[in-house]
């Protein structure tokens, strides 16, 4: 058994009377894709945002590569290699693909304050950026403005940006959302390859993708994890079938 890369212990977050995260503990092990599923409003995004540092849990603790990261802000966690994608594609619209990925390279390097050197001729930015653009399957699109990309390409751009962070773990928030059938298939293949870079905590509604990709699945309902297990265990779990999968399984 390997040490988990990411370990949540007893996380709890409430907004007024609403308990969005209720005593959640889960681990992300090296090399795995751990899918987090659950109905709308189950608190999946709230949980992701506590891991990224955008919101603070009321209780509980998060360890990342053995280090307690509760006191770090979102930028510091990103620099440690906690790379995320957003539910709604989030890129810098007026930047080209290359500039977007260069921004991530600069962020990961911890040096975003170079004032005088032109970024576009700084090979310490452009070379890694070009590499990650290719890795994400966007070769030949480096000069295109992000705003002009198709939806699927923007997803790939987000993955290139995540890769540029030299990630130790990926947090992917519904990467399949809005992808067509073919795009979804392509993305599934890319995500499957990503696992060799770093383990993935995958929030996803697309059950085909989840069952194809996930090594383990956790089911979140009303802020609580009601089950964690392999694909087969989750498919067979009566409580999960009743509360979430229903006729889909």
């Amino acid at each position: 058994m390997h040490e988990p890369i990411l370990e949540l212990t007893g996380l709890r977050k409430s907004f007024g009377a609403l308990v969005a995260t209720d005593d959640v503990s889960l681990t992300l092990r090296p090399g795995e894709i751990h899918a987090l599923i659950g109905p709308n409003g189950a608190g999946k995004s709230t949980l992701i945002r506590q891991i990224t540092g955008e919101i603070r849990p009321d209780q509980g603790s998060i360890r990342f590569e053995g280090q307690v990261i509760d006191g770090l802000d979102a930028a510091a966690r990103a620099r440690l290699g906690l790379a995320r994608s957003f539910q709604v594609s989030s890129v810098i619209p007026d930047f080209t693909v290359l500039q977007n990925v260069m921004l991530a390279v600069a962020g990961a390097s911890g040096n975003a304050f170079g004032l005088l050197r032109p970024a576009l001729s700084d090979h310490r930015l452009t070379e890694p950026a070009a590499f990650h653009i290719e890795q994400a399957g966007l070769s030949g699109r480096a000069g295109v403005k992000a705003a002009e990309l198709a939806h699927g390409e923007r997803r790939k751009l987000e993955i290139a940006m995540a890769l540029a962070l030299r990630p130790r773990a990926f947090l992917l928030d519904e990467p399949m959302a809005g992808m067509g059938l073919e795009g979804g298939r392509q993305l599934t293949a890319i995500l499957s390859d990503l696992r060799t870079e770093a383990p993935i905590l995958l929030v996803e509604h697309d059950m085909d993708a989840v069952f194809a990709l996930a090594d383990r699945i956790s089911v979140l309902v009303y802020g609580r994890i009601i089950a964690t297990g392999t694909v087969d265990e989750i498919r067979a779990n009566p409580e999960v079938r009743r509360s979430y999968l229903g006729e889909a399984a």
């Binding site: 955008e54 989030s90 007026d94 260069m102 600069a106 004032l115 032109p118």
Partner: protein, 326 residues
């Protein structure tokens, strides 16, 4: 990109050509108008770094303009009277050397921008606008109620400060000084906005959440931009004080903040030479229409309205046909 560069050169070239042409025809007053346009353009270039590239809509940049002006006025008046400005904790004598005054003006404006920025950048949107305005108004009222340097009446100094090897009283020579500094500020802006820092600043304007998610804290980036912006505007204030040989609280008032903002919006937000074009048009309108009617600013208002509604890229946007570039 290349087209933008051409436009920048044309704008700057027109300004210089106007001044030289007027000088050759013996039109000293027109040279002074061109100088004023260069100085206001410099202030606009400074604000543009924060407003255009950083998306920081500061309604308090008159603070830095006025501080630059007052530093100049205070040094010059002490140089004339021979009294030191400070005796404690160290002796600081007055000066009428521009090369000594400019760094002082820029440092003072930069420090003020550091304090104002550090506090106001904790807010966003309309609150940011209001907080920056409030800080500038505080300085405005302070200047009014501080009798030592003229209070409400302002502070005159009778001799323009000096620059080694030049006669600063000659309009075309003073224009050369101002235009050179404007050129340097444009160069500085061009370099900075293409750098890593510029990338991060523009990214934070467009998508702050995404910028954080790649490990960059927008606050430090924005504060740096705000301070650099304040320093450039402070330098413009120093030049403006020397142009008029007079500083008054009006330089610190919210009208001034608004005017600097108008230069940027008229010319094109986030365009390198936009504020220079904006300032030149502003001065031109003031000169041409000001003679026709005291209410010329109503016409300026109409023009601004038209720009905001129909050409959000400003005058430069009309020429390049694009709204904005990264």
């Amino acid at each position: 990109m290349r087209r933008d560069m051409t436009i920048n050169l044309v704008i700057f070239g027109l300004l210089v050509a106007t001044a030289i042409g007027a000088h050759l025809m013996g039109e000293g007053f027109t040279v002074t108008l061109a100088t004023k346009a260069a100085i206001f353009g410099l202030a606009g270039v400074g604000l543009n770094l924060a407003l255009g590239y950083g998306g920081l809509v500061s309604f308090g940049h008159a603070a830095f303009f006025g501080i630059g002006g007052y530093v100049t006025g205070i040094f010059a008046s002490h140089a004339a009277s021979g009294q030191p400005i400070l005796t404690l904790p160290f002796t600081l004598a007055g000066s009428n050397e521009m090369l000594g005054i400019w760094p002082m003006a820029m440092v003072a404006a930069g420090l003020a921008a550091l304090v104002i920025g550090a506090l106001s950048l904790r807010t966003t949107g309309v609150y940011f606008i209001m907080v920056t305005l409030a800080f500038a108004q505080m300085l405005f009222y302070f200047a009014i109620s501080w009798p030592r340097y003229g209070g409400e009446d302002g502070l005159s100094f009778y001799v323009r400060n000096t620059f080694p090897g030049l006669n600063t009283f000659d309009p075309i020579q003073y224009f050369a000084i101002c235009a050179t500094l404007l050129g340097l500020a444009l160069l500085f802006t061009a370099v900075v906005t293409q750098s890593r820092f510029g990338l991060a600043l523009q990214a934070a304007r467009q998508n702050s959440q995404r910028t954080v998610a790649v490990g960059i804290r927008p606050y430090g980036i924005r504060l740096t931009a705000f301070v650099l912006s304040g320093m450039i505007v402070g330098l413009a204030g120093a030049l403006y004080a020397d142009l008029n040989r007079f500083v008054s609280p009006a330089m610190l008032s919210w009208h001034m903040s608004g005017e600097i903002m108008v230069f940027v919006i008229l010319g094109g937000v986030g365009r390198l030479c936009g504020p220079v074009a904006g300032a030149a048009i502003f001065i031109l309108l003031e000169h041409l229409l000001g003679g026709v009617s005291d209410y010329w600013q109503a016409l300026l208002g109409l023009l601004l309205l038209a720009i905001v509604l129909f050409a959000p890229g400003g005058l430069i946007g009309i020429v390049t046909g694009s709204r904005r570039h990264a």
